[in-house]
């Protein structure tokens, strides 16, 4: 269970989130929906422990992400960021293996044919899938994904959603940031629309 308790987040002097509370149930998929700049990615970053609220608390079970060491936090939550860039020419498999075993997740996301490709040569959609695969390979109880469906074709979207549903059934808490133009959100167990 992720508990967000009356948080306020300020970035660059601007109040992005004000006095916001929410509970995200364990073992489910929660979609956070909203237009660009509404604060949904900021909320995800705060849950991930990237930024600290100026007021209020966030806990993953009993753990405060912002007060937890990076190594311990990496055992609890994994994050797939939007627009992951790659500078060094690792292969797709090598990148995923930086997080954990790669074979299963590569198969599930149909990345096996790209296993030996250098990540510096991937298209936007392929790079995004590698980023999602890397987060999933970390095998954490909480999975946070920022717009994982944005650059995907219909087939890839379906595979990603199926995989997320399978993970949630297995007890993983999945939080996905989705754009407000996302028409079909039936795959999510809970939709947070406060950011609309």
């Amino acid at each position: 269970m992720i508990t967000i308790n009356e948080i306020t987040i300020v970035r660059d002097g601007r109040e992005i989130i004000y006095d916001y509370s929410e509970q995200i149930p364990a073992g489910s998929i929660t979609a956070i929906v909203g237009p660009n700049g509404s604060g949904k990615s900021t909320l995800l970053a705060a849950i991930a422990g990237d930024i600290a609220p100026v007021k209020g608390t966030i806990t993953i079970d009993d753990l405060h992400p912002i007060l937890t060491s990076p190594a311990q936090l990496a055992q609890i939550r994994a994050v797939g960021i939007q627009n992951q860039s790659y500078t060094l020419g690792f292969t797709v498999q090598q990148i995923i293996e930086l997080a954990g075993p790669a074979q299963d997740v590569m198969q599930a996301l149909e990345l096996t044919t790209l296993a030996g490709r250098q990540v510096t040569t991937l298209s936007g959609g392929e790079a995004q899938r590698v980023s999602i695969a890397t987060a999933i390979a970390q095998k954490t109880p909480v999975l946070l994904l920022d717009e994982p469906l944005a650059a995907q074709d219909i087939g890839s979207r379906k595979r990603i959603i199926q995989l997320l549903q399978k993970l949630a059934e297995g007890g993983v808490t999945v939080v996905v940031v989705a754009h407000s133009e996302e028409a079909d959100l039936t795959w999510a167990d809970k939709v947070i629309k406060q950011f609309l």
Binding site: A48, D50, S69, P70, A71, L73, A74, Q75, R77, A78, V79, I81, Q84, S85, Y86, T87, L88, G89, F90, Q94, I95, L98, A99, Q118, T120, T121, S131, T134, A135, Q138
Partner: protein, 323 residues
């Protein structure tokens, strides 16, 4: 076999470097097999080749640490201010009469100067709490320019005999190396190399950007600090002993990446071998091409390393993606 080529070339180059020189050594094999029997061989030539191996490996690893810590293909000790900081630390210590060029004391002062300058670069580049590769390079060039100018001013102001050795050392040369000098750079190379080895898997993750490295469990400031310490020890030890030798820190890691791929743990050994090879070959050429004089070694390292790098980039250019 292709992947063993640099190691084989290093063995061959080291042997040739010991064999050739201004003086032909009589009964070379007999002298080589009985330590101490020939003064030129054992007091001058072998220490010089060993120093070339250690300095080349150190500068190359320093470059690997700089590029890994900054996640930038252009980073190297001279661009981040590390080399200039090591020079200033050494020059200050020598001119105040505390130490002599090449002594352990000079190496400590050089490493401290390198650490201060590199820390200053990171600190100033991070003033707005957004440490970008671009800011690091720009600030590093500025810090380097300031430290280099101070070294120039100090060198111009002194009239003592030290000034001559400082000026000679500042252009980069292995000519002043003695067996006694080897101890200091061996220590800095071993400690710096051990830190580099320890943090090398973390540098793989750092290449994905600070945010993703943190998500994967890396304490990014700690990794960067350790890389900075390794960089300062490696570059500081080398520069304070033999002066600034251009291009090794930039070229050797790139050449190693082109041959062996981007995994840092693998690159530690291979980068060190390629750096050592470049310096040993360059030093052999610098002392034999213009006998009885010597060419500045930095000039030769650039002439050898640059074409190799250009050739590799032109056939295989997707090892490092620039934005």
């Amino acid at each position: 076999m292709k992947k063993l080529a640099p190691a084989i070339a290093l063995l061959l180059a080291s042997f040739i470097a010991v064999y050739v020189g201004a003086v032909q050594i009589d009964n070379f094999w007999a002298a080589l097999l009985s330590p101490g029997s020939n003064e030129i061989l054992w007091q001058i030539r072998i220490p010089r080749v060993v120093a070339g191996l250690i300095v080349g490996a150190s500068l190359a690893l320093a470059g690997l640490m700089a590029q890994g810590a900054c996640n930038n293909a252009l980073a190297e000790p001279s661009i981040l201010g590390t080399t200039a900081g090591a020079s200033l630390g050494t020059v200050l210590a020598v001119l105040t009469g505390l130490v002599q060029v090449g002594s352990v004391g000079a190496i400590v002062c050089g490493a401290l100067g390198a650490l201060v300058a590199t820390s200053l670069t990171f600190k100033l580049a991070n003033l707005r709490s957004q440490l970008s590769s671009f800011a690091l390079i720009i600030v590093g060039i500025a810090v380097s320019a300031i430290f280099t100018a101070i070294v120039g001013l100090l060198s111009a102001m002194v009239t003592r005999a030290d000034a001559r050795s400082i000026s000679f050392w500042n252009f980069g040369s292995l000519a002043l190396i003695t067996r006694e000098n080897l101890m200091g750079i061996t220590i800095t190379a071993i400690i710096g190399g051990a830190i580099a080895w320890k943090i090398s898997p973390s540098l793989d993750r750092l290449s994905l950007g600070d945010a993703t490295a943190f998500h994967l469990g890396e304490d990014v400031p700690r990794v960067r600090f350790l890389a900075l310490v390794a960089l300062s020890l490696l570059a500081g030890g080398a520069v304070s002993t033999v002066g600034s030798i251009a291009f090794i820190g930039l070229a050797a890691p790139h050449i190693a990446r082109f041959i062996y791929g981007p995994t840092h743990r693998k690159l530690i050994l291979h980068t060190a071998i390629i750096g050592a090879l470049l310096v040993v070959v360059a030093d052999t050429l610098s002392r034999t091409l213009a006998q009885p004089g010597e060419l500045p070694i930095g000039l030769v390292t650039s002439l050898i390393g640059a074409p190799v790098l250009i050739a590799l980039v032109s056939v295989k250019n997707n090892v490092w993606k620039t934005q």
